[in-house]
Symmetry: D2
Subunit: 184 residues, 4 copies
């Protein structure tokens, strides 16, 4: 197993970061903070005469890193009841790589498993984050990624997630399971 955490938050040391660190404590993994990278929005050339163009940003480097890992943590605060724009742009750009001859995109994706961590605040994210969970499910189904599980945490201010015992317990449970399977 090779684990990568993709953090969509626009600030460091937030509640989503706390939860993913809990889930991956003492487990070898690669973390990518999208806020430290520039990811331009997709320019759709699917129906143009020309092909998709090279884009001058950090995306290809991140995408190549992404491909190397089979266990992916998609981690995002609930921004306006969806994933952050940063993370959305990361996923939107898949449309270009789906059509890039250098990769067998869907074949690569089928080997991957995904965990989702979302933290929201008000109205209660255990309900208001459900459309986002459904969206992730559609995304993963579309490309063949297995959707292992998700955590919906409730917090606003820094460290408020420490009060969400249900989210913390689930992060611990993931940690135990991942540890026992990485050991083997």
């Amino acid at each position: 197993m090779s684990i990568m955490a993709l953090l969509g938050s626009s600030r460091r040391n937030g509640n989503t970061e706390y939860l993913v660190n809990k889930a991956l404590q003492d487990i070898d993994h690669k973390t990518i903070y999208l806020l430290e990278n520039e990811i331009k929005p997709i320019v759709d050339k699917r129906h143009a005469n020309e092909n998709f163009s090279d884009v001058n940003d950090d995306y290809e480097r991140l995408f190549l890193e992404f491909l190397k890992h089979d266990t992916l943590f998609f981690v995002t605060p609930l921004y306006w009841f969806g994933m952050s724009g940063q993370l959305k742009n990361f996923i939107d750009r898949w449309s270009q790589y789906l059509r890039d001859n250098r990769f067998d995109f869907k074949e690569e994706m089928k080997k991957k498993k995904a965990y989702v961590i979302v933290v929201g605040n008000n109205p209660d994210p255990k309900i208001s984050a459900l459309p986002l969970i459904q969206q992730f499910d559609y995304i993963f189904n579309y490309v063949g990624i297995e959707f292992v599980d998700y955590i919906i945490g409730k917090a606003n201010k820094p460290n408020e997630i420490l009060k969400d015992s249900s989210a913390l317990k689930k992060a611990n449970l993931w940690n135990e399971k991942l540890k026992s399977s990485t050991v083997k």
Copy 2:
């Protein structure tokens, strides 16, 4: 009534653009193509010592334009079962303006009405776009915008929307209603 259409597509002359033109045919309105503007992702400073910073892109100009209109069309292809990253960044940046003393953000928003146009393809968007419709509902409720109605169209290639008679009829119906209310 003062109408603005906010187009989230990453290409011109697509199916979403066709539908919104149908809905707003012969009606005075302002159109903004997000792809022609640079909108950076939000940098969250809600919990920082410093305030939100000025951002060097097209957002503030677009946002000031947005504020001038009371009837808003949010128009986006279904990208990965959500709104486009461009449109998501437009909305994510509201978080900064919510806290900007120059505006009474929520008071301004309460005066607005929204229409949503989404076009997807596969799996059938009349189901797979529903999480996005629910997300828009949460967004509009949060800031007090009235959610008038939505159209979910089905199309992929350019002009394929011409075959979706249900979406076209609904765009026509909106057009008739908007015309009769703008005349008054």
Copy 3:
């Protein structure tokens, strides 16, 4: 094509009945009013030693009728944000017939197409009925029925649906399409 409308309302001449009559105007079809029939809840014997038992109510007669038709209208008011208990019991009882050797249940279901008509009132059913639409989608996927389309109408008092021009137009559109395909 052989059409059957299954009406889940607990009263006659309501808004859902109006819409389905509009959609099926001048088209040969069979209507079943669930309120005129007794349908007991399922008694789950999947994990019991004994088999499912015969049930003394109207279900088997209705189910045999149901099997004869390939185009099905599931019509229900939005009761507590779901289908009526009557209609739910009709569907719950499928679990017994899935395991009944007299029928090749899934093979029969795969030949069928479904239309859904829901009418709600408050909060606005174009949003609050979406979980029910998603539930129908899961149901139809599970047994292989094609989900052609749905109408969500807004009305409360008798005949209030006459004010929902969008729902009426869509019922008309279905009527035109069904007529042209039944003629052939």
Copy 4:
């Protein structure tokens, strides 16, 4: 605190029953097995000249019991991606009691809190049960019940829930919290 568990399953000793027993272990509570009661579907008389009629079944007795408790567990297997018909009929009948002068229905409901336990199997209920969770949220909002939390378990055969460590942990967590608040 006065706790009532309302079990919608059509068989005893199933996985939902296991989970609710875990959550309420060593805590005083009243359990109602809907399968042991007859609950007829609602007959809608909202728009009739006559009033709602008395119904000859077990409902009124159950409803009076329901009113006595402030903490409610709605427990149901995922039948066809919704609550069981038995439980749906229980809730549908609220429509009659909303209009019954003997009760101040909404005032009574506002004092209550709800927990939901759902167990499904395939496709994975952590996604396919979400429309049902959203439906419960609409129901509780409509009448003013506070929606405390939900568990979505995954199991099919008897006792298979023992393998769902995430659901079991959450039931334990509820148990601890309820115990500490009932002690006070």
